[in-house]
């Protein structure tokens, strides 16, 4: 685990209706190895019906590979979109979990409010 999170993951906007527009996820982090290439995974809980809307369809997990994380604190961002599959969701908040896999694994997450 060589990735150090300097500032936790944030989302903009933090509240959304379904389907959402573009949601930007930001984070500041660095590698204590002076730099390393990591894979970043965003995951939604499988118990509700909110999914990521991607070019490949509606998925519960997004994998981003080959991202270079430098040795100094650096802000990076990813953009996602959410959509309901089937009926209306029961949940009021959606958690997007992030796992960064490099030398080890580092976790982070961000919570969004889902408005009726």
């Amino acid at each position: 685990m060589a990735i150090v999170i300097d500032e936790n993951l944030t989302a903009s906007p933090t509240k959304t209706k379904m389907p959402s527009g573009a949601i930007v996820l930001r984070q500041t982090l660095h590698s204590d190895l002076g730099g390393e290439t990591v894979g970043i995974t965003y995951t939604l809980d499988g118990r509700h019906n909110v999914c990521f809307q991607t070019g490949q369809g509606q998925v519960k997990q997004i994998q981003i590979n080959g991202k270079k994380i430098p040795g100094s604190a650096t802000e990076r961002s990813d953009t996602i979109a959410l959509v309901e599959v089937g009926g209306g969701t029961e949940v009021g908040q959606i958690v997007i979990k992030q796992t960064i896999r490099g030398e080890g694994s580092t976790r982070d997450s961000v919570t969004l409010s889902v408005l009726d």
Partner: protein, 623 residues
């Protein structure tokens, strides 16, 4: 019109059995005519007097006080007491003071079961479920609650309310609830915000007895939101004494739709929940770190090459004190213990987790410094750029305590991705995880909870709430069984009419201030009309020839009466007097009765008919 009706009733009743012969019949006929005439006069006179009395009363110049004709009951909302037994059968005025700032007041009433609690002897109070099943009360259906609105000035100190309360039944127990609408004060709002902190802190963090991995994270469900909403509403009620919140649209108002409440809670609770997810991530990362770090430190402590280096430095320090610091650094690094383990008990609350972070800081400060020095020694100070032994360790190589190969391997151990370098980085990361990331998250959470509490402080301040106080069980009056009256009693068989005073004993409590017609027709109100009458004639019925009074100049009346109006009663029954022997030489007497009919008036209306007695004196037979 009354005279002819009375006439036949009395005159057709027949002669007294004790009179006999033609003289007796003639006297009886004469008396019947006189009696009919006198009764007609008397009846007319009574009616006129009654009308005059009513007219005089209606035209009385005295100002009518605000509570005229109504009983007034004072209520002490703080003491939850009434100042008197409640009247029955008649509306009454309920009055008292409400706290400053109250806009309106609602009064609800529940009739209590007739039974009593066996242990206390008190009336059985209604269970909350019953009260909630009939939230508007059950005394005045379908009216429900009585309402008073403060139309003067809500800011005036202790405004007085006055409410007209519909009639209650006699001999019953009632439970009253006074609910008044007021605004949440700044003091209450502040106290509530402090409670919000405790509630949100506890509920959102989670219950350690139910969940192993605290704090709670993940999706916030409507059920969790509902639980938080319920507790916040309860807290607001406790702080303000409110029964319910009436502020339109507020999440504390039970009428606010669940969807709207969910939206608000989702927005307000999100920052706390969000950072809790990040706390959970950080603690899991920490657990992963020390899961790798502890065996790595154990491996270093047991590493033969590092132990060989340590031994060589100790031996060298004995001969050369300048080597002592290096010897101590290596020994200290190899003595670093395992990192603190985050236990379940450390995660049971934000406070316990913060305490763990604080308690762990010295370990990481110390261990990281020691491993950093060891890593630096190994990576940078054992060999030169060309791999040759550094001057400080040349004596160790020269003495054969360490080989060049040992030095190369030791130098490799100190590289960032090798065991010592890895342990050094892991200690730094774990220390930062606790000291920077987790501590920062905990601080962010505390700030988010504080922001939430402040948001609710401003949210509830000035909000309209219904506060209430419930009185205990209060009884209506139950002793109004007896009344007194006076009137005219006529005994057709004696052909006489006399005045009398009597006592009426009812079969249920009677409030004579309650108009009979409000309870229904004659037969529907029979229980309120019928009474036993026990009385004494004021003038005697004796003639000293055929009859004598029972006591001196008075004879006893016993009958069954019915109120025709609130104060006028018709009674029929028996008159008890003494019968004299018609033989003037005999001195025997015996008790006998004759039936009577009477019309009477309650004693409390008699003063309105002053002078009626003199009229009776002139017209009544036998006077």
């Amino acid at each position: 019109m009354t005279g002819p009706r009375w006439g036949p009733i009395l005159t057709e009743a027949g002669a007294l059995r004790t009179l006999c012969g033609a003289r007796g019949r003639a006297v009886a006929r004469q008396d019947r005519r006189k009696g009919a005439f006198r009764l007609a006069r008397l009846t007319l006179g009574v009616l006129l007097l009654t009308a005059a009395a009513r007219g005089a009363r209606a035209q009385a110049p005295t100002p009518v006080p605000p509570d005229a004709d109504f009983d007034v009951v004072q209520v002490d909302l703080e003491g939850q007491l009434f100042n008197r037994t409640l009247p029955f059968d008649v509306p009454f005025i309920l009055t008292g003071t409400v706290p400053t700032g109250v806009n309106n007041l609602e009064v609800r009433c529940w009739e209590l079961p007739s039974g009593r609690d066996e242990s206390s002897g008190s009336p059985v109070k209604l269970a909350d479920e019953i009260l909630q099943a009939k939230p508007q009360g059950n005394c005045w259906q379908p009216e429900g609650a009585l309402a008073w609105r403060n139309t003067i000035d809500p800011a005036a100190p202790n405004p007085t309310f006055r409410l007209m309360v519909p009639r209650l039944e006699a001999e019953r127990y009632y439970q009253f609830k006074f609910s008044f609408e007021k605004k949440v004060t700044p003091e209450d709002a502040l106290a509530f915000s402090q409670k919000v902190q405790g509630i949100v802190d506890g509920i959102l963090w989670g219950d350690a007895s139910l969940t192993a991995g605290l704090p709670l994270s993940g999706d916030l469900t409507p059920a969790e939101i509902q639980a938080i909403r319920s507790q916040l509403i309860q807290a607001l009620q406790e702080v303000t004494g409110a029964d319910r919140v009436t502020e339109p649209g507020s999440v504390f108002n039970p009428d606010t739709p669940v969807a709207a409440a969910n939206d608000e809670f989702n927005l307000l609770l999100r920052p706390v929940r969000n950072v809790q997810g990040q706390i959970d991530d950080a603690t899991e990362d920490y657990e992963d770190e020390i899961a790798d770090l502890s065996p790595l430190l154990a491996q270093l402590r047991a590493d033969p090459l590092l132990r060989k280096l340590a031994a060589a430095l100790v031996a060298r320090a004995a001969a050369d004190p300048s080597a002592q610091d290096r010897a101590d650094e290596v020994a200290a690094a190899l003595a670093v213990g395992d990192p603190p383990v985050l236990r379940r008990s450390d995660r049971q609350s934000a406070a316990t987790l913060a305490a763990f972070v604080q308690a762990s800081a010295p370990y990481f400060l110390d261990a990281d410094a020691k491993l950093s020095k060891l890593a630096d020694l190994l990576a940078n100070k054992l060999t030169g750029p060309d791999g040759s032994p550094a001057p400080a360790v040349q004596p160790l190589v020269a003495s054969g305590q360490l080989s060049a190969d040992d030095l190369a391997k030791l130098a490799a151990l100190g590289q960032p991705t090798q065991p010592v370098g890895t342990a050094d980085r892991a200690l730094t990361r774990a220390g930062d995880l606790l000291g920077a990331r987790l501590a920062g998250n905990l601080a962010s959470r505390a700030a988010a909870v504080g922001t939430l509490a402040e948001a609710y402080r401003t949210h509830v301040e000035g909000m309209s709430i219904i506060a209430g106080s419930t009185t205990g069980s209060f009884a209506t009056q139950n002793r109004n069984y007896i009344s007194a009256d006076t009137g005219i009693v006529c005994t057709p068989e004696l052909s006489e009419c006399n005045t009398y005073a009597g006592t009426n004993i009812y079969f249920r409590p009677i409030n004579k201030a309650a108009p009979l017609n409000q309870f229904g027709g004659f037969f529907q109100t029979l229980d309120r009309r019928l009474s036993l009458t026990l009385g004494l004639t004021i003038q005697g019925v004796g003639d000293e020839k055929t009859r004598a009074d029972l006591f001196n100049n008075q004879s006893l009346l016993l009958g069954l009466g019915a109120r025709m109006t609130n104060s006028v009663r018709m009674t029929a029954g028996g008159l008890l007097f003494k019968k004299l022997d018609p033989n003037p030489l005999a001195d025997e007497e015996s008790l006998t009765t004759t039936y009577f009919l009477s019309i009477s008036f309650d004693i409390d209306v008699a003063p309105a008919m002053q002078g009626i007695g003199s009229l009776f004196k002139g017209v009544l037979p036998g006077n």
